[in-house]
């Protein structure tokens, strides 16, 4: 039977079996504090998005778990179980190869953006690392297609926000490595445009310095 592995913000993650293989069951349980109609819509939409973008991301050259089964009505996805460590913990533990992994994160984000995929929730707990080296992207519930510079810049802005809040001591270094990795795929001009746009987004925020 399934065993609760993790209770995330959005979904409960169970470890179980799917036709003899170890599998993850991800259920977006109803949130009683939300209006029923809104809750249904959010859970269904995110389940569908997640399933389709797990596939789209792989087409773009970014590793993701295989999707075995989806049930949009109950907001359930069954997918491949991948035994790995979250990048979040690897940074906390100050693992030696974190630098290389950050560059790989940057390269992967650039590949996604190159295929017009916006992840929408780039945090260090959404990157799984297998065997200390292979990077897997998960949690595509907030993903969408877009070719707008603005959406890509917001994606990176969120990444930066997570680093400065949760990994303050390594944030600057990690983010610059991510940008370098991004640049190796997308080119220097693209990164320049993105950095400028990120500056605009930050200045739009509350009490941002007007310089």
């Amino acid at each position: 039977m399934e065993r609760l592995m993790r209770r995330g913000a959005e979904a409960d993650i169970y470890l179980g079996e799917w036709f003899g293989k170890e599998a993850i069951l991800k259920i977006r349980k109803p949130k009683p504090y939300r209006q029923k109609e809104l809750d249904m819509e959010i859970r269904k939409r995110r389940t569908l998005h997640e399933a389709s973008f797990l596939v789209e991301a792989r087409k773009a050259g970014v590793l993701t778990p295989l999707v075995y089964f989806i049930d949009p009505k109950n907001a359930e996805i069954v997918m491949q179980y991948i035994k790995g460590m979250r990048l979040r913990e690897m940074i906390f533990d100050q693992r030696a190869n974190v630098d290389e992994l950050c560059s790989e994160v940057g390269r992967s984000i650039a590949k996604l953006h190159g295929s017009s995929i916006i992840h929408g929730d780039l945090t260090t707990s959404n990157f799984l690392v297998v065997d200390n080296s292979t990077l897997i992207f998960i949690d595509f519930g907030l993903a969408f297609f877009s070719q707008r510079l603005e959406d890509m810049a917001v994606d990176l802005h969120l990444m930066k926000e997570v680093l400065t809040s949760a990994h303050s001591e390594v944030a600057d270094r990690a983010f610059s490595l991510i940008l370098k990795g991004y640049e190796s795929i997308a080119g220097a001009n693209r990164v320049k445009d993105l950095t400028r746009k990120m500056g605009e987004i930050e200045r739009r925020g509350r009490y941002a310095r007007v310089e």
């Binding site: 949130k31 209006q35 925020g205």
Partner: protein, 354 residues
């Protein structure tokens, strides 16, 4: 270089009432519509150490917002009375307080300058240390003191702020925030459109209670960030198309608060903290409290809510934080005590926390 008056251990002893000295701080809040003064003493951390808290709120005519010049004029007019009343209420005179704190930002320039000018004069005349306090830090510190929260994820929601933060390595780190309007602005600007005077949170909450009809409005969560501008635009449009006001108020609250609950839940799951603290003016909203209570329960975290009388802008938030800062040796020379209209919470060096 100013030496620390006390180290962190001594500060915590002091806060537990175990250090044999009472320290008092006079605080002035004047970031926006409120001019308020307070005296806080550190003999213990119970509610009782707010010796006084007295203020006056500028209220703009219905349908319009806070004009900075008009608000600052109001502050100048009420200042002498407010300063005096807060001292009388505390049964103290200015000579007896140990430090003078003022809200140095973020906020409206003309309003901030009123409070800063008064604080500088008092500090120079009475020869007391002058302590600049960040307004957002003030909301959080006072809420922590009053509720007893120790290591919370904080949701700060007011007219000036909408952010989720937790303390780490000397600073309040922002996990998520609004990309445009604050939730207070959303509510007040909608209120203004329908002819209410700001702040209109209470009246909107009352209207919302009369309906349970849900009208879809844009739900915008980007990672840990939220955006409220779409809700405001749609709600205004629907109002002018004749949708009933009660259902609109109900739906604005339901959607905006569900967004806040979601991003709080995300930060909570990410940090694995055991406490959620709700602070700022909008914390007084019962529906928001209810939603966050459910979020906390799901993750085994306790919800702390700042008491209603101290949820809005008040002198006590400045006096209390000023006191903590004073004990940690923070002060500024009057000549250098500029106000900072854009002083973000994550730029404040918090010297009084480990």
């Amino acid at each position: 270089m100013i030496e620390r008056l006390y180290n962190i251990d001594q500060i915590s002893l002091l806060l537990q009432g175990k250090l044999n000295k009472e320290v008092t701080c006079f605080g002035i809040e004047s970031t926006a519509h409120t001019f308020s003064c307070s005296v806080v003493s550190s003999s213990d951390v119970t509610h009782g150490n707010i010796l006084s808290d007295f203020g006056s709120v500028f209220s703009p005519p219905p349908g319009s917002g806070i004009h900075p010049r008009e608000a600052s004029r109001h502050h100048i007019e009420v200042a002498p009375k407010v300063v005096k009343r807060s001292l009388v209420q505390a049964r103290m005179n200015m000579k007896e307080v140990d430090a003078i704190a003022f809200s140095a930002g973020p906020g409206l320039g003309p309003c901030l300058r009123v409070g800063a000018t008064i604080a500088r004069s008092l500090s120079l005349y009475h020869d007391k240390p002058l302590i600049p306090v960040n307004h957002a830090t003030g909301h959080i510190e006072l809420a922590m003191m009053l509720t007893g929260a120790k290591e919370p994820i904080v949701l700060l929601v007011s007219g000036g702020h909408t952010l989720i933060t937790a303390f780490s390595l000397g600073r309040w780190r922002i996990f998520g925030e609004t990309l445009d309007l604050t939730v207070g602005q959303l509510i007040d600007q909608f209120g203004r459109e329908i002819g209410f005077s700001s702040p209109s949170g209470q009246r909107i909450e009352e209207l919302a209670k009369k309906s349970s009809k849900y009208i879809p409005l844009p739900y915008t969560v980007k990672g840990n960030d939220v955006s409220f501008s779409g809700i405001l635009t749609s709600a205004k449009k629907l109002f002018h198309e004749g949708k009933d006001l009660e259902s609109l108020c109900f739906s604005i609250q339901e959607i905006a608060f569900a967004m806040l609950a979601e991003v709080t839940e995300r930060a909570l799951a990410f940090t694995e903290k055991r406490e959620v603290l709700l602070a700022g003016g909008v914390a007084a909203n019962r529906r928001l409290q209810e939603m966050l209570g459910e979020v906390g329960m799901r993750h085994g975290a306790n919800l702390f809510v700042v008491p209603k009388e101290y949820s809005g802008d008040c002198g006590a938030q400045i006096a209390w934080t000023g006191l903590l800062a004073h004990l940690a040796g923070v002060s500024v020379d009057a000549e250098k005590s500029f106000v900072r209209q854009s002083w973000r919470l994550d730029q404040v060096d918090v010297k009084w926390r480990d």
